[in-house]
Amino acid sequence: MTDSKYFTTTKKGEIFELKAELNSDKKEKKKEAVKKVIASMTVGKDVSALFPDVVNCMQTDNLELKKLVYLYLMNYAKSQPDMAIMAVNTFVKDCEDPNPLIRALAVRTMGCIRVDKITEYLCEPLRKCLKDEDPYVRKTAAVCVAKLHDINAQLVEDQGFLDTLKDLISDSNPMVVANAVAALSEIAESHPSSDLLDLNPQSINKLLTALNECTEWGQIFILDCLANYTPKDDREAQSICERVTPRLSHANSAVVLSAVKVLMKFMEMLSKDLDYYGTLLKKLAPPLVTLLSAEPELQYVALRNINLIVQKRPEILKHEMKVFFVKYNDPIYVKLEKLDIMIRLASQANIAQVLAELKEYATEVDVDFVRKAVRAIGRCAIKVEQSAERCVSTLLDLIQTKVNYVVQEAIVVIKDIFRKYPNKYESVIATLCENLDSLDEPEARAAMIWIVGEYAERIDNADELLESFLEGFHDESTQVQLQLLTAIVKLFLKKPTETQELVQQVLSLATQDSDNPDLRDRGYIYWRLLSTDPVAAKEVVLAEKPLISEETDLIEPTLLDELICYIGTLASVYHKPPSAFVEGGRGVVHKSLPPRTASSESTESPETAPAGAPPGEQPDVIPTQGDLLGDLLNLDLGPPVSGPPLATSSVQMGAVDLLGGGLDSLMGDEPEGIGGTNFAAPPTAAAPASLGAPIGSGLSDLFDLTSGVGSLSGSYVAPKAVWLPAMKAKGLEISGTFTRQVGAISMDLQLTNKALQVMTDFAIQFNRNSFGLAPAAPLQVHAPLSPNQTVEISLPLNTVGSVMKMEPLNNLQAVSSRLQSSNVFTIAKRNVEAQDMLYQSLRLTNGIWVLAELRIQPGNPNLTDLELSLKCRAPEVSQHVYQAYETILKN
């Protein structure tokens, strides 16, 4: 006799039959009938029509029958709210039952009935149950508050249940504490601003005590809650760590990982010199390794987290390489993750082993895995210089296998190796060329073309090879087309005599027959370069390329720090902050690692120095997402040329001498040209200063200038600021300001030619800005600007231009746009530890890049107290950049 009998049907119709049985006098028959109903429900059949009959069975002293009816109610009450009211009385009565099991059951079920009308009746019994003498009832009631909050948040707040719940954190029973924490955490998730779980040393102490005694699930809730706490100093952090460490030996992997999260976070506060720090590091490795012997699903989640942990603290697992070796019957998702971590852990000490393994993997069956293994060999070569030679020979062995996808992957990675170690392994080119015909994937083709172009002088038949690609030019993917264009230009510059025809052919294909703006632009640039000044062209195209960095696919440090706070959660599996994927509506609190406290030296915190300090060296990061190639290919040509196709008339001006700095300076340095997509921005920033435009946001630093300007009089005109120093614009210095006189806005410009040549053909473009400013008349500079001449222009403006939808201007934006006006471009903006951070880049004319991080205290209108950190290959310029920043911002 099994439950499958409940699924049999009769001719009369199931529902009819069941109805009769439910109304039977015999208890036994009733119970059987309810069971049949439940059975239908579990497989998704609709039995809601039986609602009144089932509810009638509720008043019974048979606990099993009662539970079954409750099960039914939870499923269908929502669809029959009026009927559900019938059940309320029984619930209220059951909440008074002497048996705690029944009291708990009633309060639990009531919470699951998601009907508004019922929740009103639920409040009184719930209040009683929260103070019940039996902890089992209390812990059930705690969860019920969370349920109720989900249905009607306002009601829960009005009834003061949240306070009662907070009191339960101090309950004597650990299980009650754990459930209260869980309920509060869930409620807090939908109320990010509220201060529900305000943790202080006392409550932390209570949680830590409960942690030892509650169930494994309770431990997870408590640990996750602890992770949100920021200890006041390193001593407190250490004492919490000490009490959390035993959880690392728990059999439940979720407990282990939550404990790891707490430790990783609080470790940040401990000084590295501390003995305890070392002990803790040692203790973290074994539990992480143990996670890898669990079921594959657990392994997967563990591996994703370990990936974060080894990036943050590689020392923890540096001796554990072997546990990441792949077994052939691991599921593919585990294999790929293991491979990733193997590369991260690869070092000179273990590279031989790793390479042997990778070679083994490259002969496996699974194509995705083999590809990744081949790619990993290349990454090893780039990461560990000593191994490069062996990697290359391993790759050559693999190419000999002639397995198509292995060959293609190998060529892609060999190209990276050439980039990293130029002029070292070119002897293999011949072998690569043999495989030219078998390449059918764009990435591999592009890589091969790059190699041919780069080493054209050593490949006798380079022109033939490239010509063979050219035949099907239009069928190739963009990546290959761009690469082919560049490669042929390189070839031409190296062997101009034989390849003139070829280069003309490719240029016309790229510029005339292609619809792709990127390709067309690149073609035009080359064309012009070659026709105006082949020597400059050579300098640009064959310029020495920057080396690629060792580590690839690293997560950006700030993101990594945030993700460390989310170890064990979905965010850690996706390697994205929760804000990136959590459903909208639910606010997300940004978490960040606690700063090292004052008592310990800040040895490792990100290099932030007050303005004027020398720039810090940090490892270079190529923040690609698995697509190293795209990035490398782009670097080849300077930043990709973006923006709409531009009219070319204004390019004439001084094109020759502007070329020195690479192609992007061709675009960017054209001071007033239409081409300067970024440059034309200055008006946006400075405009409000004198316009007094009615923007009521945080621009106070600028507005304090405007206090008297609201009127028509235009009595105040902000002094002219240098918008474009000569040094950055090839000799053109622009300073300017905005004035408003009798309602007419104009921009006063002062152009100074500090170069040695005459400048002509000025034009101006206003980018779309939040004020809708646009020129009312064309810019008129009548005479050519001879060297050392200064000319004053007033350009009438109106505000009918298209208004750029911007977030309300705030301090940050003002700063960023002010800087932008000085050719300092904002790349990213984030909020870390309640401070606004701006990440910016600027480039000097001689090709020096400077990356800057600017830290701003929000609500600080005067822009004082800023912190600027710079990163640059040429540290000597930093002093000037600091000065530049200072002048720009303090001006």
Binding site: L71, M175, E213, T215, V323, L570
Partner: protein, 418 residues
Amino acid sequence: MIHSLFLINSSGDIFLEKHWKSVVSRSVCDYFFEAQERATEAENVPPVIPTPHHYLLSVYRHKIFFVAVIQTEVPPLFVIEFLHRVVDTFQDYFGVCSEPVIKDNVVVVYEVLEEMLDNGFPLATESNILKELIKPPTILRTVVNTITGSTNVGDQLPTGQLSVVPWRRTGVKYTNNEAYFDVIEEIDAIIDKSGSTITAEIQGVIDACVKLTGMPDLTLSFMNPRLLDDVSFHPCVRFKRWESERILSFIPPDGNFRLLSYHVSAQNLVAIPVYVKHSISFRDSSALGRFEITVGPKQTMGKTIEGVLVSSQMPKGVLNMSLTPSQGTHTFDPVTKMLSWDVGKINPQKLPSLKGTMSLQAGAPKPDENPTVNLQFKIQQLAISGLKVNRLDMYGEKYKPFKGIKYMTKAGKFQVRT
């Protein structure tokens, strides 16, 4: 927290659904089916699948997918651990966990699931407690229930639920008091072509079967506790005592439970009890390949290796194999290309071997990959790490229990590359 659970069989039918909050339409599983279709094998279905509004976390056990639906940021390990607990509980209740059994006991399954989670929060997951709340079905009980009309739902609050030792119920009584401990070690190893060990580690567990009256307090000590530097304990073990004295002190749960699992890492030298000699060659020219494999003992401390099973996934190009074993039986499935050879015991005097030829697809190039050989074996009365229990003592009760310790070594994921 956990929103819903769907049980899906390998042919893609949802045969059970349970919702702990509002009902989630089963159409959410379509995303799962998509992923299932993309994965070539059931094992390769990714465990975390995002959908526009939910996340699907799944485990694959006993040919059933257990798919949990979550809506908010929940630790995925928490969900996966819970799903494993569900599987274990089903197995505990019904002996096996399979689609027909679950369908046969659908009401009990439903009651148990309801008891395990409340609003997505775990409620009672200890099988001791669950069994007190909802009695597992037995033939006898079913018959008795039908006659007397009594129920299989307990109406008393489980005693362990709130005590300091939630894993043990009070008032346990046995006529024969006994406590058995099994030390079981599994060797995970990868051996390379030449026979040298690439990586080897030991996953050990101590499983206990304790049937003792009252509230016994046990201590277990080891001859060489130093081996255990990476351990996970059952919650009953007093961690402080272990930290300070390296002694396991605990009040055991009633019945079967896992006291401890440990891991002896790749850094310690792990003894490898078997070796495999192999010569597998494909030749380009002929359509025949040679295959020979011999298994022999190595570092077994004088114990016999038994239950040896050799299996290997042959390359696709192999059409058939004609092999002769010196002992045991072998099979080759020409469809899945799976070779398996049930060897049995290894006699050190006469080593078992399997020899013969493989017929390959004519004209096709020789396979690129070499097959990996998977090995299973068992060695009784030996813990390969050398772990030994020193003594087992009982406090708190007056009687004298029967005690027993058993050792066993097994192959875990033991792979030999060829």
